[in-house]
Point group: C2
Chain length 595, copies 2
């Protein structure tokens, strides 16, 4: 039976010692988030993840969701009780403004809790995750009336949320969207169409489901400029907030998926369902982007969560399983064999995963902190910088964390040999569940295109220049410190590769956009490698300070993991740069029918 332990200590260290979280009292809600409060919330969240969500992960996979003939959907055994615990604990509204019943705590803290939930039970975590995304869109684009009507009940967990974008013939290319919205004459619209791959589209966890739906108002322009966003509750809501009649939306079927069986992935049929416009007419994509950016970061967090839980279970197996002897002589001579953790290739695997996880956690929290700055700072320049940073880093967190998160789950599974392939051990589920995160909320190739085609050139490359400058400043500040040399020297090499890639793209991609497209995925990973390397350098600095204060093997392990990253993982930047510089010629030369 796989286990999960939420990384509370590491999260506290990162917030306090690496990211200066407690120095941000200028941000609304941060003063309330004292070190004591933060620690208490993290420990409670860990308990929830470890004791409530993790125990129903495997049963949820085995049982899956079931749709009855009347279109109702039952979640796996235990999900409803766990959901009630989650909701009554106030987790749904952790960082929602107090005006709507939330706790108004930092989004950064909420992100840490998202990691715990994603590690413990990805399929479960999606139900509240989508609700939080829907709340974010309503908060920014909803009318006061809509916010007052929906948010308090969603914060309570009485109602959940979804996002409805994809249709059978359109996923990435939303311009092809066909779902229709016809004005009813009373300010509402009648929505008709079919949406597919709708996560948490129908279930038995809550009494209502608030669907946010993209549709085209009759007569709207073709393409993406004619798409609007609507709120379409499963059960109509009376003006006083009580529930009325059932709306014309239903689950037509459930998809049979590779993983996340505990989450209901629905075909949703809208058959003249009543919906209300959110934001402006024909500006639906704009409104949806709030939700999508939030969701993309949350999906990156899922990649980390699955990487962490897979690591933990592989490490436990490696310390337990006796097989063979160390190359340097028996380490457990009293036993029939040594635990396999003595073998260098086993350690290589584990080091590779933990060196990613620890830096990714830092990058996740740092990115979440920028979201708090964007939404809570009163300093316009600080908000602008945070907005730049978020735009630039969102596709990287989504794409790199989920690519590596999946790859790490596969590596962790490998350590168990045949047992890793057998469902009983749970490693297969981590792999199957982690796989979706590379796909949904924009497949990773789309993230790479978003990064290289939109985010990188935006505002004359301002966001990237700021990032490069920040890392260069760090390197200048610490370049003379010999204790930091194992970190600063490789980071400088990685940064040079990233700068080299940016330069090459400036010179070669404007005239020939295929050169950007063919290098997009490599550029995204190159950027991710450097961003994680920068995190490691900052972690190393903090760990050295802690070690100087009170020496501990914990800080030595940190520094070793960081060195491993610098020696064995960061050098991948050179390969990524070489691929980008190869350009698009051999990639694009074949005729389509040659494939």
């Amino acid at each position: 039976m796989p286990q999960y332990r939420a990384p509370v200590e590491d999260t506290l260290f990162l917030l306090t010692d690496v990211l200066g979280f407690h120095a941000r009292d200028n941000l609304a809600g941060f003063a309330d988030a004292s070190p004591d409060v933060i620690e208490a919330v993290l420990r409670e969240g860990a308990k929830l993840a470890e004791e409530v969500l993790a125990p129903i992960n495997r049963t949820g996979d085995l049982e899956g969701c079931r749709r009855d003939a009347d279109g109702t959907v039952r979640t796996p055994t235990g999900f409803k009780a766990a959901y009630d615990t989650y909701a009554s604990g106030g987790w749904m509204g952790l960082s929602v403004p107090e005006a709507y019943g939330g706790q108004g705590l930092p989004h950064t803290l909420n992100t840490a809790i998202q990691e715990f939930a994603s590690g413990a039970n990805l399929a479960f975590g999606m139900y509240p995750g989508l609700t939080q995304g829907a709340m974010a869109a309503l908060l920014v684009h909803g009318t006061e009336e809509q916010k007052a009507l929906y948010l308090p009940r969603m914060v309570e967990g009485a109602w959940t949320g979804t996002m409805n974008l994809t249709e059978p013939h359109c996923g990435t290319d939303l311009g092809l969207l066909k779902t229709k919205a016809v004005p009813n004459g009373d300010g509402a619209y009648s929505i008709t169409g079919t949406k597919i791959f709708i996560s948490a589209g129908e279930h038995d966890l809550a009494e209502n489901i608030v669907h946010l739906v993209l549709a085209r108002i009759e007569g709207a322009p073709a393409g993406t400029k004619g798409i609007s966003l609507f709120v379409v509750p499963k059960v109509l809501v009376n003006a006083d907030g009580t529930l009325g009649a059932r709306n014309g939306v239903s689950c037509g079927s459930l998809e049979h998926k590779m993983g996340i069986h505990g989450n209901a992935t629905c075909v949703m049929n809208y058959d003249g369902a009543t919906g209300w416009l959110v934001g402006q007419e024909n500006r639906g994509l704009n409104a949806m982007f709030v939700m999508m950016n939030e969701a993309r970061l949350a999906v990156g967090v899922q990649g980390l969560g699955q990487s962490e839980v897979a690591y933990q279970n592989a490490a436990a197996y490696a310390k337990d399983r006796l097989q063979g002897r160390a190359l340097t002589g028996a380490k457990a001579p009293d036993k029939a064999a040594d635990p396999i953790i003595v073998h260098p290739d086993v350690r290589r695997t584990l080091m590779q995963i933990r060196a990613f996880n620890e830096a990714a956690r830092a990058l996740m929290l740092w990115t979440a902190l920028q979201a708090d700055i964007l939404h809570r700072s009163e300093d316009a320049r600080e908000r602008q910088a945070a907005d730049d940073y978020l735009g630039l880093m969102t596709p990287v967190v989504k794409g790199v964390f989920t690519d590596r998160g999946f790859a790490n789950a596969v590596e962790a599974q490998q350590l168990l040999g045949g047992h890793g392939y057998i469902e009983e051990w749970g490693m297969s589920q981590f792999v199957r569940d982690a796989r979706i995160a590379m796909i949904y909320e924009g497949a990773n190739g789309i993230q790479a295109m978003d990064l290289i085609g939109r985010k990188l050139p935006k505002d004359g490359g301002r966001a990237m220049m700021t990032f490069l400058g920040e890392v260069q400043t760090f390197l200048k500040d610490h370049g003379e410190d010999p204790a930091m040399a194992p970190f600063t020297q490789p980071l400088q090499a990685g940064l040079n590769d990233l700068q080299g890639a940016v330069m090459w793209l400036m010179q070669n991609a404007f005239a020939k956009p295929d050169n950007a497209g063919a290098g997009a995925t490599d550029f995204m990973h190159l950027f991710g490698l450097v961003a994680l390397g920068y995190m490691w350098a900052r972690i190393a600095k903090a760990a050295q300070a802690k070690h100087a204060e009170a020496p501990s093997p914990r800080w030595e392990s940190k520094l070793t993991s960081g060195r491993f990253y610098m020696e064995r993982m960061l050098p991948e930047t050179a390969l990524r740069l070489a691929r980008i510089k190869a350009g698009a010629d051999s990639t694009m030369a074949l005729a389509a029918d040659a494939f």
Copy 2:
């Protein structure tokens, strides 16, 4: 519904124009394998794979195998009929000597057919695959009597074979093996113990199953030096070859696995089963290695097979799915959107897979040809060289083909977006099925250790020196040819990295074996990259000659795929070398309890 097309034309080109297959008439059986015969056999094998095996792949996954209360196991619907077609077509004995009823054709040809079967239906292909492995072990180590008793019936397909190594507490470390063999006094032994993960251990395809079982004869030395190999038929065989009483071996349960659901993975209980020694007492591992090496190559072939079928279905989708517009302007302006194959990142994915597949197919056939030389040549020096080559290349083919085969299946799945995650489309099955190949027949970390710890240093590094010399000779012969420069120059760089790694290991791994262990996986992939690069250079040479003879887009596509490999894939050697040279320090520094 996924489709499969066996790569007959490519196989013919590789055999005839790249590998000089028809110049090997000095080998027994090759004279019979005229170009006409080869082509006819490949076309028939393709038909079998495409029309008989592929159509039952997905149903086999959905249905799986079922064990009834009496211990009998039913394979999925259609498997028995397909098996009968397979057996009656003479495929089982394609390369088995005619003395035992086989066709005596080259093993190289059999390997090509294995690729087709593995691409069409991996779970099915394992039943004959294991039978062929068992026949190989009996051919080399069985007595004349054993061979006469078992082989003809196995060649007919009336009986299948298995290999029984793993026990609950021992997989890699067979020295821990506990299954006992007690002499019965009549030359036979009574075998008792439990084996797990036994593929094709029990099923309804054949009237008997010939288990090859590792066990420890009472009083034998501890560890690997006390292990013997036994043949243990499911149904006892009378001296005249007719079937007698049921033997004391049965399937205790079936494993629930991530994939290959159509293959029965059994816990096998030996309860005083009657078995007969194969080969010498306490030399069972030696005898089993014949089977394991054969099986390891066959598993590498499975990686290629799954990579190919995943590629084909992703390419078909990419040509069909309309979404977005090309960066360089609409390519299908009459349609609502362009097919996604116009997008550079989609092409990058497809090119990466095909550039692997085409070179891997060459390396597979070349390696299989060495097996034919080893077993069929009358020239002792040639046999020695082939034996060296096979020993060196077996872990590379197994480890690299299955790591990349799985990664390619994942990449192919990604092209389908959400549809890739839905079981109906079949891509998930390719991923789940391909995953096992990285694990069984020695997990890939074990392959890497076998390569770096045993095969590389063996005979003073003779095999590796021969390989390096051969590639260097090729580069010398073609280094002046400007048309070959896009291939020879990158190959020289890759070869230098490989030589650099060998040198570094010679200097750093003898005194500190952890330096070898920590670099083992990287070394295996570095070697694989160069071996595939060498294949590409040879393919390019042949394609240029064909193109000069009769210009065709086919040869241009070949050369483009080769250039893609050289520009974007082979440069990975530098990263692998950098990791190896990082040594074992950061990998091994942590205390076990820090994980």
